[in-house]
Amino acid sequence: MLDVKIKGAVGSFVLDVDFQAGIGVTALAGPSGAGKSSILRAIAGLWQPDEGHVRIGETVLFDPASGINLPTHKRKLGVVFQNALLFPHMNVARNLAYGCVEKNWTWDAVIGLLDLGGLLERRPFTLSGGEAQRVALGRALLSNPAMLLLDEPLTGLDDPRRDQVLPYLERIRDDTDVPIIYVSHHKDEIKRLADLVFVMDAGRVVAERTPNEYALERTGQ
């Protein structure tokens, strides 16, 4: 169970959210600039809010009142951004191995899950956007994360590529038990993937919806 209660200034607005996310896929939806990415960055320890707390189960990641602010590399979270951010000086295999901790699932299982077998010797710049995102997902999974934080992982892809990668996200959801926080403003993605949707606007969570309810709404894009 992820428990997030944070407050802090982000650019021109104040992010002030309080929500819990359990197993499955929890989507953070809403227009650009609503603060969705800032929440992920705060959970990952890449941005420090002024107050509040971030906990995963019993583990406190951030709680300034008790002087706790775990550095990013100790938080055990898998993060995938819009840009795959593969290490350009390493081939795919070395990228996958970078944070690899074989615990809950093995190297072979992740390679199989995401069909990465044919890509291992390739250099990142030779990969298509969709392939690069699959490698990024595999790399994150292999680091044995307590939770996956996906920040618009399909937004940089054109529609055919997005349709190629979406099934892999469904596989991760269905075949692993890693909870996922999924940031997106695409209704179709959210409807297909999410179990629960928090709708955000101007730094606040303004509604909690089921994916179907959210997909039928006219507002929030």
Binding site: G45, F81, A140
Partner: protein, 231 residues
């Protein structure tokens, strides 16, 4: 000096110069990497002042830098007197010459490395952190390998600068044959006497050859890195 000037003398001068320039780069490179990483940090407070301080040897007259070194590391200097007491005095030694060259080369080593760090996508460092890599591991597996062309460029520039250093060296450690008389100082000394022109030409030829080989190595290494990255 001119009478005794033969092949052995040329070799001694060249070897001493290479030794001085090599040690100068070794002394300068580690702190340059640290300062470059620091200066490349976004939102660093007082960046302009820190940067200006470390670039001072580039713009200060070398004689002035040599004078400052003399007053700090010389026999009566704050650090020099302590080193002297331990029998580790460096004034008028080849090690002192290397120190002078290191200080003069520092900004030239620093700058390309800093530019290479600054050009890196900051997301890569964050990504490595989310994969569990500590700051030190990120430095050695992400930041440094990606800054490799800058490190090569800085090393070669610094080596060339150290090889050609004149003003700070002669001020700090004087011009002692066999100890602190490097290529540049030897050429200058020879040119002061009418019969010195032809032996000076030998050294000038050697200086040009070393410089060319150094820059050639840097080009080859950079080219190899580029190919490695795109194949």
């Amino acid at each position: 000096m001119i009478e005794a000037f033969n092949d052995t003398a040329v070799w001694e001068i060249v070897l001493l110069s290479l030794k001085v320039a090599g040690l100068a780069v070794l002394l300068s490179l580690p702190p340059a990497l640290l300062v470059a990483k620091l200066l490349a940090r976004p939102g660093l407070r007082g960046k302009a002042v820190i940067s200006a301080f470390f670039h001072m040897p580039l713009v200060t007259p070398p004689v002035v830098t040599g004078y400052v070194l003399l007053n700090v590391f010389g026999k009566n200097g704050a650090i020099g007197s302590v080193l002297d007491n331990w029998g580790l005095g460096i004034s008028f030694t080849w090690f002192g010459a290397a120190l002078a060259a290191a200080v003069m080369a520092f900004p030239l080593i620093l700058r390309p490395i800093r530019l290479a760090f600054e050009a890196q996508e900051p997301g890569l460092d964050e990504m490595a952190a989310t994969l569990g890599a500590s700051r030190l591991r990120r430095l050695f597996t992400i930041a440094l390998p990606l800054a490799w062309p800058g490190v090569i460029a800085g090393t070669i520039l610094g080596f060339a600068k150290a090889l050609g250093e004149f003003g700070a060296t002669i001020t700090f450690v004087s011009n002692i044959p066999g100890e602190t008389q490097t290529l540049s100082l030897a050429i200058y000394t020879l040119l002061q006497s009418p019969a010195g022109d032809s032996p000076a030409l030998v050294l000038i030829g050697v200086a040009i050859a070393i410089s060319f080989v150094a820059i050639l190595i840097s080009e080859i290494l950079a080219g190899r890195w580029e190919r490695k990255r795109v194949t």
